[in-house]
């Protein structure tokens, strides 16, 4: 299995720009840690550890999207649904740090860039979609599945475009074909990857919602609102 899985390697983005994004990433991760602490209790802390471990596992599973091109889950949407946005960004960051340090996947100097794209921008985009869709969609498992799918898809494409933005700022090579072509390819391929990500996320989140709805962060406080619509999410077995 080759490394470099949606992860930027060293040297692709010029060092000063990579360093700038590293500083930005550290600052935002500190904010996430401060905000995430408020939610992290005896129940959410082990759940968040489990989500990080699951995201690591899922990221190893490259699926084909086009002949000769593959993709894998990024996990921002999945984590945001299960543990909330702040802790989700931390979960994906932990995965990226372990991948860079233990598995030589994603350059050390590019760690800030990768955290910015996938853990911060990807998760933020997913969370915005989640907030909007959970408000307008019926509070059913189907509504949750649609939310998970849409949030995943948009999150992956936005994360891919964040990479293009980083390259625009500090790309090491002046491209003959121009950045426009790369933008199109990145968005197109990642829309396809987003479909796979959406399916995996929807199946995973719906499964957790069936078994333990109390462990789905996005469903917290959802109970009272479900008087008009049938809400099978409450029908799962509860301890």
């Amino acid at each position: 299995m080759d490394g470099l899985a949606l992860h930027i390697a060293d040297g692709v983005i010029e060092t000063p720009v990579a360093a700038g994004f590293a500083a930005l990433a550290v600052a935002v991760v500190v904010v996430c840690l401060a905000r995430g602490r408020r939610a992290l209790d005896d129940r959410l802390a082990p759940m968040a550890g489990l989500v990080a471990a699951f995201v690591f596992a899922a990221q190893m599973l490259n699926f084909p999207v086009l002949p000769g091109v593959s993709g894998h889950l990024v996990g921002g949407a999945l984590a945001a649904l299960l543990v909330g946005p702040w802790v989700a960004a931390l979960c994906v960051s932990v995965v990226l740090v372990v991948q860079a340090l233990v598995f030589a996947d994603g350059g050390l100097s590019a760690l800030g860039l990768n955290i910015t794209n996938m853990a911060l921008v990807g998760t933020a985009a997913a969370y915005l979609v989640i907030v909007v869709l959970l408000r307008v969609l019926p509070r059913t498992l189907a509504g949750l599945a649609v939310t998970a799918f849409a949030a995943s898809m948009i999150s992956v494409v936005v994360a891919a475009l964040a990479f293009v933005g980083e390259y625009w700022v500090g790309g090491g090579v002046e491209l003959r074909a121009g950045l426009g072509e790369v933008t199109g390819v990145m968005a197109g391929v990642h829309a396809l990857i987003g479909i796979g990500e959406g399916l995996i996320t929807a199946v995973t989140v719906v499964t957790v919602a069936r078994v333990r709805p109390d462990l789905v962060y996005a469903l917290r406080g959802a109970r009272p609102a479900s008087t008009t619509a049938p809400a099978p999410v409450t029908g799962g077995s509860v301890e």
């Binding site: 299995m1 690591f56 593959s70 990479f163 072509e181």
Partner: protein, 118 residues
């Protein structure tokens, strides 16, 4: 609905077993084609059979080898272990356990403590 205060042993154990199976067994079935970013990064360049860039203009041109490319588990393998299936699986298991330990440990350390007696 009664709010459960704990994650519960069985959910945690079940989730870890699923993660270990995905990373330890299913990972060997994963596609080894270049992923979306790699594909986009190599566009415009000619690449030889080993994946080395030989000509052209593309994002990946100035890519350097990873600083830890000689590490024990670099590229999701195990140094000295030639059996790909075993190496990928073992690396996956190590990754899940390390990620759970680092992530879970960090989150447990910074968590909001309940007042004593609750």
């Amino acid at each position: 609905m009664k709010l459960t205060k704990r994650i519960g042993f069985w959910f945690l154990a079940g989730g870890l077993v699923v993660s270990l199976l995905l990373a330890g067994v299913v990972s060997s079935l994963a596609s080894s084609s270049p992923d979306g970013l790699e594909h986009a990064a190599q566009r415009g360049c000619a690449v030889d059979a080993d994946g080395e860039i030989v000509a052209g203009s593309c994002l990946a041109q100035q890519e350097r080898e990873h600083d830890l490319a000689g590490g024990w588990f670099a590229d999701y393998g195990v140094r000295g272990l030639d059996n790909d299936w075993l190496a990928t699986g073992l690396a996956g298991v190590v990754g899940v356990l390390v990620t759970f330990a680092v992530g879970g440990g960090l989150f447990w350390l910074v968590r909001r403590r309940r007042p004593a007696g609750e």
